[in-house]
Symmetry: D2
Subunit: 371 residues, 4 copies
């Protein structure tokens, strides 16, 4: 059914609300015998943690993750893993103003319509805080990948903030961790700093594009139709709050290409494996990985909680104006970077498990040989 | 596990290969008591059928659908429905040339690597022929929707073919069925006719963008996280052959907007329901439908089977050149229109069933009232 | 995948080990707007709680359940519900003796073989303590049933302890809650008290049979094949620790009947609904409820942790003898009664949601009318 | 959702009605590269085929299975496999008498109540004919097992027919295929022949108990809670038409044992693997296989379609009497033997795939070593 669950074999169910006592992820199907501890997961949560600089919400949450089950003496046991993060900074009084008004562009109105429950405390379940649980689960997926397929490297970064895109000619993989925007273009980071400062001061917000790349993914991951690697990546990314578009490789621009321009030509590499002249496919053909970089991109819309006045209605149907005070991200896309990475880690691990279940063999072992 | 299955409650499993004896869809969870017959499904299959004009593959398939189970005396019984389409025009000799070479941009190589099986007969399971089964299932979903939610209208159309986009100011809903490209812009249809004719004659192919809109969808469909309406639409569309990007509403462009530009302001309509000043959200907030038009867009890459020479390798790793003779679509996006509509129908029906299962009440009935 | 999950729409994933920090249940798909609080769940946990009399393990656990998510201001929100029970009495030193030996009849050896992890602290995940999480989830299911289908009454009771069966002629529904064995036969309760005392003193243990009955279940719940009501009940009960057999209605004895003896004859009742001359079917025909009492029975094997010496081996393959000291239930079947009730509640609720999802209408509303 | 689907990774969805044009099984998740052809599947279908002797229904169906997809050049491709069996002997006129009356003990009434559809043609979906599709799927599972785990041997047999049980002291494995009742006790076969002849002539029917054993199953198959091997076997067997009870190993009798009697003592075998003094556990501890024989037993109720007069009602609620003419099995348990075997094959294969997916390694390889 999977209202709150994703994954086939490595199944993650997230739970918890923005201002409840805690939130977390229940992970079923985690392989046994993998070294993991809370510190390993914390690394990734710290990357997503709010309040680290002036560009993210000033809500202060330590986002300390606890492992409540499934790990014994430093190793996964093969049984369900419970990851819990307690909420500590629950200043729900900040939200009093919006108890009866719906924020335009926010899930306030649809949750109310569907469930008849208004969790005005920061949006409850629809809050981006839910993504902390995904990052914890992604940390666990990374620990398993580190054991099963240590060669795989996953990296997310911003390629656009509002009006400003990066210049791919300045792309520097090592720059990504050097700036608060996780961008590979150092110059863009400077531009964005000023740009976002201006937006923040004016009480506005802005959207962003995040790209997540996985390197050294073995060929052969994925399966037909609804087990396609790209199907699952699309679902994984679109399920993140505020995401409105997902692209694989060439993405929407594939519509503009001719067949001869789009087809990545194939050659034999020096290591006896196929190599490709280009990667329009984003590392996936027919839903199955090619061995090239897996490239997924998604657009995050601007935060709808802004200090600018917008027209809306109340629960009783009265016309109203709304300004959302409180502590919000001017560009929520920044903190979506580790979330996108976490989803990539979960999806890749899930397909590695699926592959060895259905096809067999060690990780990366496939049945068809070339050469 | 769902390698070949999609849906939560209305579950569709497709089966069959391009050149096997038959293909089809097994539908589990179809509600009982719905009037349906083969002619109703055939309407939609005819829309997707190849060989109808010079812009689509000249393979001739009647694509006649048979209902083998789940329907008795003209009504669904509530048990599993089997929809079968026999393959009749299986000229597999056309494919002899590609038995040992991998078509660049095609799933030939990844299927071989993963499964160690080369179904050279038209790509086997990875062929776009699989989508015929989806259209049959979508026809069944439409029949159910017609009974449960007759107000819902689903329409797909092309908004871009290669270099040429439609002009939204000429958008004409009634034009869509009047041209071979299912486009709402009559002038674009003329331009595209010449453009595609040129591409076809040169043995090339081109990509496209398809938009699918559902009107009069009740508010409240969807659920958190992995049961989000947009999550499921993204997965549904990305699972179609050759799709490389999916957008909801504003899509990738949402990244360029500020919060105040993106937030669709809310007012009370004359009928006592909320109305919105705009629809950047594409009819979905927090994964739940707002009652506005649900708008999804996807990009289809150009057919990789082309008459232009491309470099590739053989199964034994030899360098080679390849030209794909045979009967192919110069713009496979055309026939993706009814497929996108079918997926929209399946996803909406699935969420209608899910909603009444989890929340209860009649179709479109929600728990929270406004006003 | 569902390693640790059960249910179609009301999906319960349990997590946690016998001696970890906590255990619990993540419930996805719970309907919104249902009144529930911790005290309502606690009622059922108290029924299962150890250490209440001399017939159950002397481990002292308050088994206090906390609701961490999915409930706001006393009502379910429709989002995932997290139920957590902290472990407090983790005297794991008691288990030191069995760190390297496998208890015969216990999952020690298979968990070790499969996962290569030995959680010697009370059996870890394979401990019957896992059932506390099910009882919590069952309490939530009961709260939802109380709202959706308040007429349904669920009751479990023991019908056999080892050599001693109840006498059905003394069956007294009101007696069930009056004795420590939850048996409807007061005389049996007396016999069992002496019998079990003897077994306990001799360091032995004994099996039991539990029957769970649901009254006033509407006709029409269930679905073909793997959505059969009896399929799900069989799976639910067999998934409880130590259960080795499950029966519906007549159960294994159905093999001894002729067709005319087994067929429950049908008449029209005074209320215009069908009534039956007998209930060999246990309230289920073709996997679908008839409106009669739903009757399921299961056998619980004797606790394998006993004070009598048994032959076994160590992890290194040495022959050994084992006596399991510590605090164990001489008849674990007693505490299986509330667990069986919890599973019945979960399965019935799940099928009520499934029915209204697939068939529609209010709870208990079916499509076919008689008369 | 799984109304008509079973399995985690090897997922079988059955479809079709007793008197529709065809029925079959859609198998998703079948491993690639396995040799299979229609003749291999036919072997098992022939075992279940009606009309082979006077003890089974005289309906004549060739039950010829066709493979419509997922197999290419004699090998599974890794994509969905469609197995179809056309119905040829659809003498639905025989059923005219029961169009408006409900057969006591049959799903007629519950299907009508739930779905509002009366498929009077032999019970439609609720007919035991559905099990032909399972046997086809089981044949495919056996082909895969033959490749992945050729040592596993699966055998079903009858241990009780009505009043008459086999004598275990005469148990002869080789006798099973030598008599029409698939019983290991040659003397019982003689007794049963007379007994059943009498029942058949008097228009009666009788129940039966079937035992299915799997030998040489590797240790380590199964997983906690809802992925337990016994949970899945219980669900698989209970989902077969007319089954009312399922037992693993000692089964319901486990309730009568003391802990010391029930605990199978463990020793080291000559081959360095654990051996057990007995097999009360039926080869499963904590839901995971021990390496001993996996033993499951189920009771089949007597056919409800009998020539003896029974009281019932009509769709309009009138009191009526009913005699079911037509061609029915006096002991449907006979033909349930190959069905039970098929379910065992499907469940074991599914768990082999699950195990290598979650835990890794080749078939039968586990992580924990003894000795």
């Amino acid at each position: 059914m999977s209202l709150n669950t994703f994954g086939h074999l490595f199944r993650v169910t997230t739970w918890g609300e923005s201002h409840g006592p805690a939130l977390g992820a229940t992970v079923d199907g985690c392989p046994p015998g993998v070294a993991v501890d809370e510190a390993m997961l914390q690394t990734w949560l710290d990357k997503r943690k709010p309040g680290q600089n002036k560009y993210t919400t000033q809500r202060r949450e330590p986002d300390q993750v606890k492992i409540l089950s499934g790990v014994f003496e430093g190793q996964t046991t093969g049984t369900s893993v419970q990851l819990m993060i307690e909420n500590t900074d629950q200043r729900s009084k900040d939200y009093g103003d919006i108890m009866d008004k719906f924020r335009p562009g926010h899930a306030d109105i649809t949750y109310w319509q569907k469930y008849g429950i208004r969790d005005y405390r920061g949006g409850g379940r629809s809050s981006a805080r839910e993504t902390a649980a995904r990052v914890a689960a992604g940390g666990l997926a990374r620990a398993v990948l580190h054991t099963l397929a240590p060669q795989i490297e996953i990296k997310g970064y911003m390629t656009r903030m509002g009006a400003h895109e990066i210049d791919r000619s300045r792309f520097d993989w090592d720059q990504i961790d050097q700036n608060p925007f996780w961008t590979p273009d150092a110059e863009a980071a400077n531009t964005w700093a000023d740009y976002l400062d201006g937006l923040r001061k004016s009480g506005s917000s802005v959207g962003a594009i995040i790209e997540v790349v996985a390197r050294s993914v073995p060929a052969g991951l994925g399966a037909p139709i609804y087990g396609k690697l790209d199907t699952d990546l699309a679902a994984a990314m679109m399920s993140i709050n505020a995401v409105k578009g997902v692209e694989i490789g060439e993405g929407m621009s594939a519509a503009m290409l001719t067949g001869e321009a789009n087809a990545d030509e194939i050659f034999m590499g020096n290591d006896g494996k196929p190599v490709y002249s280009s990667n329009h496919a984003g590392g996936i053909l027919g839903g199955i990985s090619t061995g090239q970089d897996v490239v997924v991109r998604f657009a995050v819309k601007p935060t709808s909680s802004i200090l600018q006045t917008r027209k809306t209605i109340t629960k009783t149907g009265e016309a109203a104006e709304i300004i959302t005070k409180g502590r919000h991200d001017p560009c929520v896309g920044i903190r979506a970077v580790p979330v996108g990475e976490a989803m990539m880690a979960c999806v890749l691990l899930d397909h590695i498990l699926l592959h060895r279940g259905q096809v067999g063999g060690a990780v990366g072992e496939t049945r068809g040989h070339i050469g």
